[in-house]
């Protein structure tokens, strides 16, 4: 059975969960207020490196309503480390258990946990706790500070495969470019803050968790508490977004569940916004050195991409900048290296397009610089070095339409009107800058199951322990069922965000849709088979037919005589509640191909040099991500990523005071992200919508992350074109231009 109903699969259907969100009925992790529930509030370290010498809880404990205060002497022997195995669905970003010992590794580390009968009392009591520390000398909170303090750089396994001899090719080439690009720490700021509400019921742990992976979280929590998986359930029916910071559960989750066990009552805990900047991950800062060369015709001869990124003392995380570098352009000599340097900051985490977002800022800026050196149009230079094969694996792409993306994007943007001289284009008092950069991201699938039930009330239910992180998973699953069964989307019930459903993938890596849809399709087919088996039973309308002679379309079974009966009537005839099917997708790929998603951003900035005013005025993004399942949510994903990319290019920067290691802009007034007024006047997203059937039978890849990749480079390249200044250090703020 082909999923060929283009009317459903691909339609710009509005959010099926929209009314619940608009009317406040969508329940998030911190919205659950249970009987006898207690409220937790954290006390966070004000130093960034040292040892706790004393925690004075006496004043707090005397306050009415305060139940208890937990810290490093509590429940350490009752919880266990979570092992890491992506294959087994186990992972955390901060590996230290809550209150493991009296050590402090970063400012904002939770050092005590107050529990009271109201949130306000817990918060007030937390203010009354006095923590004494023995501070260690030389805490470091930036790469430069760490290097100056003599912190050792740790060599890591490169994220991309090197080939040829980049060094020799570089020295023998007609054109060369070498520069260092830096990107700052950026902090995930989803609207919904991290939160956990946990309770125990007859030995079973129930957790409402703000997570991008209920299955991963369930598996990990079970290990931390030494429970069988069936005795843990994690629920996230709605998520106020995560951007990668909520892929895996953080220490506050384990602490909340542990404290609920100690106290025998439900416990509610929310991470305050200020601590979202310290203790729940961030994008590492990077320092990337690019060495690129080309022959006299513009063919790349070498690319070296060396990255140093910040990590924490607790965990080593490689920000995989450079992962795409060796793959994407035709180039015989490539050298990729990765190093990390530990800082006294919290553990970093994935943030939308980890690796690629900072990596493509550097490499796509470098290509622009090389184009300037060669006096060649930067789009032309990219076209010239196009390849239809994965250069590392030496395999053909399962599908690639980036040349078409270049053409369509350039035509929409009007790229052919660009004059290359910096400052040469004007619009009244404003200087215009036009920049281009390619974008790319992985095309991945992960194993998923799905369960589908035809119900006797005429509805179809689909369930999976996947979650909608705000991207529209409710929609695409409903649409996939509608396409496979012919039932209207309104008659599809989507049940997700609960680890008791059949295992689903993480919502990360842009793989959720690609992973779950094949399983949904499989489940629909198996449910139809079960329905057919009921249809030929005694007293059924098709009692005389054979299963193989029945066909299913538009929610009805038909026999060879042309009789069609709705599935609900068949179920009713047998007094059956449902016909069910379970499906799975093992994430295997067709042999002989490599898969990715590709695209290009064209950016116009307006630069008013008299008052140093810089704004992004136009963006055209042409994106090649396979089949589009829902044009509305897909466009929304890409345009949202573009706006986030504008933030990365011009605003976002977590500022640590190097004297204390504390972030100073730890709120959403001072940590700048784009607001509505920063939206470009024109933001066009062109979705090529070309199904990649070599990638999957559905043909859909993923589009959650690609939109942010390359965008900062396109802005930087546009800024250069406007101002003649090459900014290699994000964000591009006006003090760097004035």
């Amino acid at each position: 059975m082909e999923m060929k109903d283009a009317k459903v699969l691909g339609a710009a259907l509005p959010r099926v969960d929209g009314p619940q969100k608009l009317t406040g009925q969508a329940m998030y992790a911190a919205d659950h207020h249970l009987e006898n529930m207690l409220y937790g509030y954290g006390v966070y370290s004000t130093i960034s490196k040292g040892t706790i010498t004393d925690i004075d809880t006496s004043a707090a404990k005397q306050m009415p309503g305060v139940v208890d205060v937990f810290h490093h002497n509590h429940f350490t022997d009752r919880i266990y480390k979570a092992p890491t195995s992506m294959k087994k669905g186990l992972k955390v970003d901060e590996s230290r258990l809550p209150f493991e010992d009296n050590k402090v590794y970063y400012a904002g580390q939770m050092v005590a946990y107050v529990v009271a009968d109201t949130f306000a009392k817990a918060r007030e009591a937390a203010l009354k706790i006095k923590v004494s520390y023995q501070e260690d000398s030389n805490p470091v909170s930036s790469i430069n500070q760490a290097r100056a303090a003599g912190v050792e750089v740790q060599e890591q396994k490169p994220v991309g495969k090197s080939r040829g001899d980049a060094e020799t090719a570089f020295s023998n080439s007609a054109y060369t470019h070498e520069a260092t690009y830096t990107t700052p720490v950026e902090t995930h700021n989803p609207m919904e803050m991290h939160a956990t509400t946990a309770y125990w019921e007859n030995g079973r742990l129930v957790v409402y968790e703000s997570t991008q992976g209920v299955t991963f979280s369930r598996n990990t929590i079970a290990r931390v508490f030494g429970l069988v998986q069936e005795n843990v359930v994690v629920k996230t029916p709605f998520l106020g977004s995560g951007f990668g910071g909520k892929l895996f559960s953080w220490p506050h989750c384990f602490a909340t569940a542990a404290i609920s066990r100690e106290l025998g009552k439900p416990v509610h805990f929310m991470v305050p916004r200020a601590q979202m900047f310290t203790t729940t991950g961030h994008r590492s800062s990077t320092e990337q050195t690019l060495r690129m060369s080309a022959d006299e015709n513009g063919n790349f001869t070498s690319i070296a991409h060396h990255t140093l990124n910040s990590t924490s003392e607790i965990d080593t995380r490689v920000e995989s900048a450079g992962v795409i570098t060796p793959i994407f352009y035709k180039c015989p000599n490539v050298d990729v290296a990765n190093n990390v340097i530990p800082l006294n900051t919290g553990s970093p985490a994935s943030m939308r397009a980890p690796g690629a977002a900072p990596g493509l800022f550097a490499s796509e800026s470098a290509i622009d610089e090389l184009a300037v050196a060669m006096n060649m149009d930067p789009l032309e230079l990219r076209r010239k070095n196009y390849t239809d094969r994965d250069q590392t694996e030496d395999l053909p792409w399962s599908d690639i339409n980036i040349l078409e993306a270049y053409d369509k994007g350039a035509a929409k943007f009007g790229w052919d009107k660009r004059t290359p001289e910096p400052g040469s284009m004007r619009d009244g008092k404003d200087v215009l800058g036009w920049g281009v950069a390619a974008c790319a991201w992985d095309a991945m699938k992960n194993p998923s199951k799905a369960s589908v039930s035809f119900l006797s009330n005429g509805k179809v239910r689909v369930s999976c322990a996947i979650q909608d992180i705000g991207t529209g998973t409710y929609n695409v699953m409903a649409q996939a069922v509608a396409a496979a069964t012919g039932v209207d989307v309104e008659n599809v019930e989507v049940k997700i965000g609960d680890s008791d459903y059949v295992d689903g993938p993480l919502s990360g890596g842009s793989w959720a849709t690609a992973s779950v849809l094949p399983a949904v399709k499989d489940a629909c087919e198996n449910a139809i088979e079960e329905l057919k088996s009921y249809a030929v039973m005694k007293n059924s309308p098709f009692a005389d037919a054979k299963e193989d002679d029945l066909t299913f379309a538009d929610g009805m079974l038909s026999d060879s005589n042309g009789t069609s009966i709705a599935f609900a009537d068949i179920l009713k005839s047998q007094k059956l509640a449902s016909a069910e099917g379970e499906g799975s997708s093992d994430a295997s790929m067709k042999e002989g191909f490599s898969s990715r998603v590709f695209g290009v951003h064209f950016v116009e900035v307006k630069w008013d040099p008299e008052i140093a005013d810089l704004r992004v005025s136009r963006v055209v993004s042409a994106i090649d991500v396979g089949k589009i399942i829902n044009h509305k949510t897909a466009t929304n994903q890409v345009s949202g990523a573009v706006v986030m990319g504008i933030g990365m290019a011009m605003f976002e920067h977590t500022e640590y005071d190097e004297r204390t290691g504390r972030p100073t802009n730890n709120n959403i007034a001072e940590y700048l992200m784009p607001v509505h007024a920063d939206m470009p006047d024109e933001l066009d997203v062109i979705l090529l919508d070309k199904p990649d059937y070599n990638f999957s039978e559905v043909g859909a890849k993923g589009l959650g992350e690609i939109g942010i990749t390359g965008l900062a480079a396109a802005v930087a390249n546009a800024v250069y074109h406007a101002t003649g200044k090459r900014i290699r250090d994000l964000p591009i703020t006006i003090d760097k231009l004035i």
Partner: protein, 326 residues
């Protein structure tokens, strides 16, 4: 949040008597107070809610001045027909600040009393002479790029005054009317806010038990044109890196009257009297504007991260002057 007592005042006199000591606070829109109480930076013993007082009117006085009740919201003030027509610079300044929902809550008196945005003041733990006199100033040598001043600083405090409204009022010229136990008195607007000097904890000329009841704007300059320009990283919802409020009248090809105030760059709403004087009688020209801007910033002292505010502030002044004389 710490506990505090709450009093709803039914009259200005009652409000003043309930206020009494420094440790108590008036509550109007709450957009500063509640924020800082939640951050545990302010710990009032008693909060005196003044929202029941009849201070919501905007009245044109016989002498041509405009009397604004302290509880008039930023939104109501910005869209008031007289303000839009005669004090356009004030309307523009108000609308460049905060967000719609904040402007709906924030009041005229509250905006005058707005506290600084320095993160070391707001974090409750860093050395800060404003919050804890004598503890030092963490902003000096720390992060001081965005909400710190180049004018009017001292070795004890460098935080910039965050208000846009006050910059426009400083340019227009105004009087702050306060009511205390001894009765009512008027304070010229440019004297109301204090430079930090050796006492950064003392931010204004009002006594602790005095309540702002009104702000009275000076009579508008005849035939003026005005401009408010706010420069910042993002296009909205950010305090000014540098701003300028300019009011100019031109007669016979020469500048007759000029008012110039700056925001984002100074420890108080900064009226540049000397720069104004340099413009009087001159024909509008790039040279005259440049000179005025240089004078306005001649005493500027940059901190470790905010030197760019000096050229940025000058640029704002020049652009505003250009705009009103174009």
């Amino acid at each position: 949040m710490r506990q505090f007592s709450y009093v709803r005042a039914e009259s200005a006199a009652q409000a003043v008597s309930a206020k009494g000591i420094e440790a108590n606070e008036f509550l109007a829109g709450g957009s500063t107070l509640i924020d800082l109480v939640k951050l545990d930076v302010m710990q009032p013993e008693t909060v005196v809610d003044i929202n029941s007082l009849p201070l919501y009117d905007i009245e044109e006085l016989a002498d041509g001045r405009l009397k604004i009740g302290a509880l008039v919201s930023n939104t109501a003030l910005a869209y008031h027909p007289v303000v839009k027509e005669k004090y356009a610079v004030l309307s523009a300044a108000l609308l460049s600040g905060a967000s719609t929902s904040l402007r709906n809550k924030a009041t005229t008196g509250g905006n005058v009393m707005q506290r600084v945005r320095c993160s070391y003041f707001r974090d409750g733990i860093s050395p800060c002479n404003k919050r804890e006199p004598g503890s030092g100033c963490a902003a000096i040598g720390g992060h001081n790029r965005s909400v710190h001043a180049v004018l009017g600083t001292s070795e004890h405090c460098i935080a910039s005054h965050p208000s846009d409204m006050c910059v426009a009022m400083a340019a227009i010229g105004a009087t702050v009317v306060v009511k205390g136990p001894q009765g009512e008195r008027e304070i010229p607007f440019t004297d109301f806010h204090l430079q930090p000097g050796n006492t950064p904890q003392k931010e204004h000329a009002k006594a602790a038990d005095e309540l702002i009841t009104h702000v009275i704007l000076d009579k508008p300059i005849a035939g003026n044109r005005s401009h408010y320009l706010k420069l910042r990283d993002r296009a909205s919802y950010q305090f000014a890196l540098a701003s300028s409020a300019v009011i100019v009248s031109v007669e016979g090809g020469a500048i007759k009257e000029a008012r110039l105030a700056m925001g984002g760059v100074a420890t108080k709403p900064w009226r540049a009297f000397e720069a104004e004087q340099s413009l009087i009688g001159k024909a509008p020209s790039a040279q005259a504007f440049q000179q005025a801007a240089e004078i306005a910033f001649k005493d500027a002292v940059p901190q470790s991260q905010n030197a760019f505010k000096i050229p940025l502030g000058k640029n704002a002044v020049i652009r505003s002057l250009k705009t009103v004389t174009a």
